[in-house]
């Protein structure tokens, strides 16, 4: 079998070296300052602690790269780096992936990690009774072979460019057969931190795992606190009750927090594209001119300012600026009321029309929605706001496709491929685009693939499939002296092994 090192793996190894030295540095710093525990606040509480049986981001934020690890992992710049697999090779046919596993890895309960555990985890994810939320990660797998305890050979059905990318997600973490069933409430993984205790509605405690295979983390103990109330988040930061907030829910309090010498605030990017979801399958939104008219009135700057009070990254297509293939398309349809009215008139709605705007609960959606309704009113589109709880939004908008307009953030990384799904809730049907995505999935060289991603972004922007607004910002607040917190979110997680006190 002729093999060659994959580009990704090569890049990964370089990144690993950088990261390892970063971790060692963190450790040295903490030894100097003596403080080895941290309290980190986050907005949402995870419903369970098993990322392989629920889609909630909060599960991943607490557990991924802390309690659980996958074969590969994503670093803070969004690159794929080795995890439980220390290296891998992809055959020339782009189908056979051989993973070389680390030796001496143990689960928190002492159970050994081996190729069999990997096979168990992946087979469990696609089993008939599996409740894995992202089965499609594993869909391309044709077979899993374990020639020896430290080698896993995965053969795919067809070349799949983002296969490794998916293995870095929380849905693909490696779990132990003995403890997998109880992971929801008593998680056991191979990560640098083990689960200690969870007081629901309040906090969750982790402790350093002493038999960890990698470098010893600087922190001995870490506590996640769940504070959903924006005012309480600010108060606890100012009072010093917490050392960091992973993503502040009170953007209006930023000036107040900045004024405190004890705190530092940084704005980062995420993979969360906030869009004005538009039902392309329902008149009048099936008419390109109507969607273009809407695009011409969506003043992104005003919307973002009204929601956050400061400037955030604006987008003109369904792609995050975090990705190297990002192109700025925010000027595809510049704000132009006269042009918008003309387009509406051409489409047969000279006096506008009435429609609904269904909004899920997050503040970014509710606030954006109110501003958008007012903006649309300028060209005679009367968008009646309906506020929905998230389950109702899922049922009516997402599953039932019973909506005209909605505002939602698509937080999964690199999810532009959803536009190739004819049945997806905004019902965009473009065979050309579908072909483009299929091509991307089988194009492995990164430069070529990125060129295709750019093309895909342009198609979506031109077709004004949805209104593209802005990227959810990550507002990280940390106590002075605390280093290593992720400030961008290529994946919304908080790896504690990189956090240390100076």
């Amino acid at each position: 079998m002729t093999t060659r090192r994959d580009l990704i793996a090569g890049a990964g190894l370089a990144a690993l070296a950088a990261q390892l030295s970063g971790r060692a540095l963190a450790q040295a710093q903490t030894l100097a300052s003596g403080k080895d525990s941290v309290v980190i606040a986050m907005t949402l509480e995870p419903p369970t602690l098993d990322p392989t049986s629920g889609a909630a981001q909060a599960i991943r934020e607490v557990t991924l790269q802390n309690i659980y690890e996958g074969l590969v992992r994503m670093d803070r710049t969004g690159r794929i780096v080795p995890g439980l697999a220390e290296s891998w090779e992809v055959a020339a046919d782009n189908l056979v992936h051989s993973f070389r596993l680390r030796s001496g890895v143990r689960f928190h309960d002492g159970a050994p990690f081996s190729a069999e555990t990997v096979r168990f985890s992946f087979e469990r994810a696609v089993a008939p009774d599996s409740t894995n939320a992202q089965r499609q990660i594993f869909a391309p797998i044709a077979s899993i072979a374990t020639p020896d305890p430290l080698t896993v050979v995965i053969t795919l059905k067809q070349p799949t460019a983002n296969f490794l990318y998916g293995l870095a997600w929380g849905d693909a973490v490696i779990v132990s057969p003995a403890t997998a069933a109880a992971n929801r409430t008593n998680p056991v993984g191979t990560g640098p931190f083990r689960f200690v205790r969870w007081n629901r509605g309040d906090r969750l405690e982790l402790a350093r795992f002493d038999d960890y295979w990698g470098p010893k983390p600087a922190l001995a103990r870490a506590t996640f606190r769940f504070i959903s109330d924006p005012q309480a988040q600010v108060a606890s930061l100012l009072a010093g009750d917490v050392d960091a907030q992973t993503n502040l829910a009170a953007p209006e309090a930023v000036p107040q927090l900045r004024a405190s010498p004890r705190l530092s605030v940084s704005f980062g990017k995420t993979e969360g594209e906030v869009i004005l979801a538009t039902n392309n399958g329902r008149p009048p939104f099936d008419d390109l001119r109507v969607r273009q008219a809407i695009a011409h009135v969506l003043d992104r700057k005003t919307i973002a300012l009204g929601v956050y009070g400061f400037n955030v990254d604006l987008i003109g297509s369904h792609f995050s600026p975090l990705h190297p293939a990002y192109v700025d398309l925010t000027n595809t349809y510049a704000v132009d009321l006269a042009r918008a009215k003309a387009l509406l008139a051409q489409a047969g709605h000279p006096n506008g029309f009435s429609c609904t705007l269904k909004l899920p609960p997050p503040a970014y959606a509710r606030r954006s929605g109110e501003i958008i309704a007012a903006l649309l009113g300028q060209i005679g589109i009367n968008a009646r706001i309906e506020q929905l709880e998230f389950p109702q939004w899922l049922e009516r908008v997402f599953r039932g496709r019973d909506f005209d307009l909605s505002v939602i953030a698509h937080t999964e990384p690199l999810d532009i491929g959803n536009y190739a799904r004819d049945d997806y809730y905004f019902q965009y049907r473009n065979p050309e685009f579908r072909a483009l995505i299929a091509k991307i999935e089988t194009t492995l060289p990164e430069a070529e693939r990125n060129a295709l991603y750019r093309e895909a972004q342009r198609v979506l922007a031109r077709d004004a499939v949805n209104g593209y607004l802005f990227v959810l910002p990550k507002i990280t607040v940390t106590a002075a002296g605390l280093s290593g917190m992720w400030t961008d979110w290529p994946l919304p997680i908080t790896p504690l092994a990189e956090v240390a006190w100076r």
């Binding site: 009774d129 007081n199 009516r396």
Partner: protein
């Protein structure tokens, strides 16, 4: 007496059963699939089906109703869809916030309302009466959640004495926990204190006209203190009754106040459960609130029967 008890008990049971049916039916027609909420935007249909089976959602509705009722009777409240732990455990944890909060608010309301009512009655139509009743009017008019916000503005943001919200948990110690409940309890107590002040005042005025007080007065028990002690003892009967009846008002208040102060109590749990479509928790909680209110009503009815023989005959 037995017939009264039997009759009241029967109607109490009927009301409970009807409540259970109404709650179940209302939540049954709710759109939305709890499994879809757990698994999110990209879930495969097979995964959804598997989770639905695991949650017991694939059984017919009448069966699920019976299973739920049976569980309620045997004390098994089921497993939360969201958290995957027994609902009774969730309720137990949240009760540790709501019960002290409600109790503190109740005590505070009594401590303010009853003396105020007595003073008002003692100075009937005097300036103190006017002041007390003006206070009561204002207490009734101010929404408790707004009062909560004002308290936060003054004591948390302005003076920095108390936390503006959240709850550190009792394991952090008694004082940190109690500090977090202080402002919410005050906010919750205000309208209750106003109601109690008005009620105590009118009950006192009534009691002062009763025969035995006049007898006592005739006997030479001229001391105002003794007089009011006599009257107060009798005035307390309706006051205690109202306290029982005000229970559901207190619960309603707690739902709002816990949201104002971000307290992890039962009121917030019911709100979150609706948001997450954790219907089993919603059902259990609404039933719990309803049952508590119905039982409080039942107790008050019985108490009345014991106190007032005329009611006994009517029943």
């Amino acid at each position: 007496m037995l017939r009264l008890f039997g009759g009241r008990l029967a109607s109490c049971v009927v009301t409970l059963a009807a409540s259970a049916l109404i709650i179940f039916l209302m939540l049954e027609v709710l759109p939305g699939d709890p499994a879809a909420v757990t698994l999110g935007l990209n879930a495969a249909p097979e995964a959804l089906a598997a989770l639905r089976a695991e949650m017991g959602l694939d059984r017919p509705a009448p069966l699920r109703f019976l299973a739920w009722i049976g569980g309620l009777i045997t004390g098994d409240l089921g497993l939360s869809y969201t958290y995957r732990v027994p609902v009774s455990q969730l309720i137990g944890e949240r009760m540790a916030v709501t019960a002290p909060l409600a109790l503190a608010a109740m005590l505070l309301a009594c401590a303010i309302g009853v003396p105020l009512g007595v003073v008002a009655a003692a100075n009937h139509n005097g300036p103190l009466d006017l002041a007390a009743m003006a206070f009561a009017q204002i207490g009734l008019a101010i929404p408790n959640f707004w009062f909560g916000l004002l308290l936060v503005l003054v004591f948390a943001i302005g003076l920095g004495w108390l936390p503006s919200g959240g709850f550190p948990g009792w394991q952090a110690g008694f004082w940190p926990g109690a500090r977090s409940l202080l402002l919410p309890a005050v906010a919750l107590a205000l309208p209750q204190a106003a109601i109690l002040a008005r009620l105590t005042r009118s009950a006192m005025l009534d009691a002062l006209q009763e025969d035995f007080v006049r007898t006592a007065r005739a006997k030479g028990l001229a001391s105002r203190t003794l007089l009011y002690r006599h009257a107060l003892r009798n005035a307390l009967i309706p006051v205690v009754t109202i306290l029982g009846l005000q229970f559901s008002v207190l619960i309603a208040g707690a739902i709002i106040i816990e949201n104002v102060f971000a307290l992890p109590g039962l009121g917030r749990l019911v709100f979150q459960s609706v948001a997450q479509h954790d219907l089993i928790v919603v059902k259990d909680l609404v039933m719990l609130f309803a049952a508590l209110a119905i039982l409080a009503n039942f107790a008050v009815d019985l108490l009345y029967g014991l106190i007032d023989p005329r009611l006994r005959r009517r029943a």
